[in-house]
């Protein structure tokens, strides 16, 4: 049952990424050119609703569907890792035009070359794991 739930959520996510064109390389380019409100509207409206939602869950002590207390893990403090890691991510996001969710959606659409992006992003993650202790965080 839980597997079906996760699968359903994923399908909903994939359809949304494709239909909203957030999975389109062109939309990412257009966003970084500040030529359209589209991507800002998507992220911004998700964010406004998200902020209200999480505040409500916290304030009203809303329990999960399975009756559990909902915990939000705070992110570790720091600047360097977020800034430098973020810049590196942004460079790749703009070049490949896909982030780690939509790249899988594009695979489902049938774009074969996205396999290179996915494979390389797994390699990139591995590379980070290798160098983790040598990097400033």
């Amino acid at each position: 049952m839980r597997t079906i739930t996760y699968l359903f959520i994923g399908i909903l996510f994939g359809i949304t990424m494709f239909k909203s064109e957030a999975a389109s390389w062109f939309r990412i380019y257009e966003m970084f050119k500040f030529d359209s409100f589209h991507m800002y509207g998507i992220i911004g409206s998700a964010l406004v609703i998200g902020v209200i939602m999480i505040q409500c869950i916290k304030r009203f002590h809303i329990k999960s569907f399975y009756g559990q207390k909902i915990n939000f893990l705070p992110k570790e403090k720091g600047i360097i890792r977020y800034l430098v890691g973020g810049i590196i991510f942004g460079l790749g996001w703009a070049l490949a035009g896909a982030c780690p969710g939509p790249m899988f959606t594009l695979l489902g659409v049938g774009y074969v070359p996205i396999l290179i992006v996915i494979g390389a992003s797994i390699m990139g993650t591995f590379l980070y794991g290798l160098l983790k202790d040598k990097l400033p965080h």
């Binding site: 839980r2 996760y6 359903f8 959520i9 994923g10 399908i11 909903l12 994939g14 359809i15 239909k19 390389w25 062109f26 939309r27 380019y29 257009e30 970084f32 050119k33 030529d35 991507m39 992220i43 409206s45 998700a46 609703i49 998200g50 902020v51 939602m53 999960s64 939000f72 800034l83 430098v84 890691g85 973020g86 590196i88 991510f89 460079l91 790749g92 996001w93 703009a94 070049l95 982030c99 780690p100 790249m103 959606t105 594009l106 659409v109 049938g110 774009y111 074969v112 290179i116 992006v117 996915i118 494979g119 390389a120 992003s121 390699m123 990139g124 993650t125 591995f126 590379l127 980070y128």
Partner: protein
């Protein structure tokens, strides 16, 4: 119901993403896609060499199922919920892209110059896709999250580190498109 076949406007897509995050929170999970890349490393055996990948990947199986869903969703969205998938970006953006050599701008979902199967025959294209992917994977893990984990989940929870990461995403993206693209294309 014809709207469903058209590209979804931001005010449908944004709330939908918030709804997806809500569903994940309500089933005791969280919205973050890049951690799957770490899980995939572990499944490939990276844990034997690097301690960062030494964890019980089965605890993350749920997120891999979400990824499987995202793949199926792409298939459904493109095959059953779309008539024309050309992305109608701003005409100014289209002419900018044509100058760079992207003739498919305004006429396709992804630039055929990079994502057509034939584009794999061009070594430069393969390298660009590989470098892009490498940076995404490395950067997401270094920053501890990607667009979903920081820009949506983290900022929704008013996390300052996520704001720093998102500012980083934009610095990187702007550098790539305004300064590096003219050198690449």
């Amino acid at each position: 119901m014809n709207w469903i076949y058209e590209p979804w406007p931001w005010y449908v897509a944004g709330p939908m993403i918030a709804f997806i995050m809500f569903l994940l929170i309500m089933v005791d999970k969280n919205f973050g896609m890049s951690s799957n890349l770490r899980t995939l490393c572990t499944i490939c055996g990276a844990g034997n060499k690097v301690s960062f990948f030494k964890f019980d990947w089965k605890s993350q199986k749920w997120n891999l199922i979400v990824v499987l869903g995202a793949i199926i969703g792409g298939f459904i969205g493109s095959n059953f919920l779309s008539v024309d998938t050309a992305v109608l970006i701003n005409p100014d953006t289209i002419s900018d892209l044509k100058v760079l050599g992207f003739k498919s701008a305004g006429a396709a979902y992804l630039p055929t110059e990079l994502f057509d199967t034939n584009a794999l025959l061009n070594l430069k294209n393969v390298l660009l896709l590989a470098i892009g992917g490498l940076l995404v994977g490395f950067g997401a893990r270094y920053a501890g999250g990607c667009t979903s984990g920081h820009a949506i989940s983290g900022l929704s929870n008013l996390q300052a580190p996520s704001l720093v990461a998102v500012i980083g995403f934009f610095i990187g993206g702007l550098l790539m498109i305004h300064f590096i693209f003219p050198l690449l294309f």
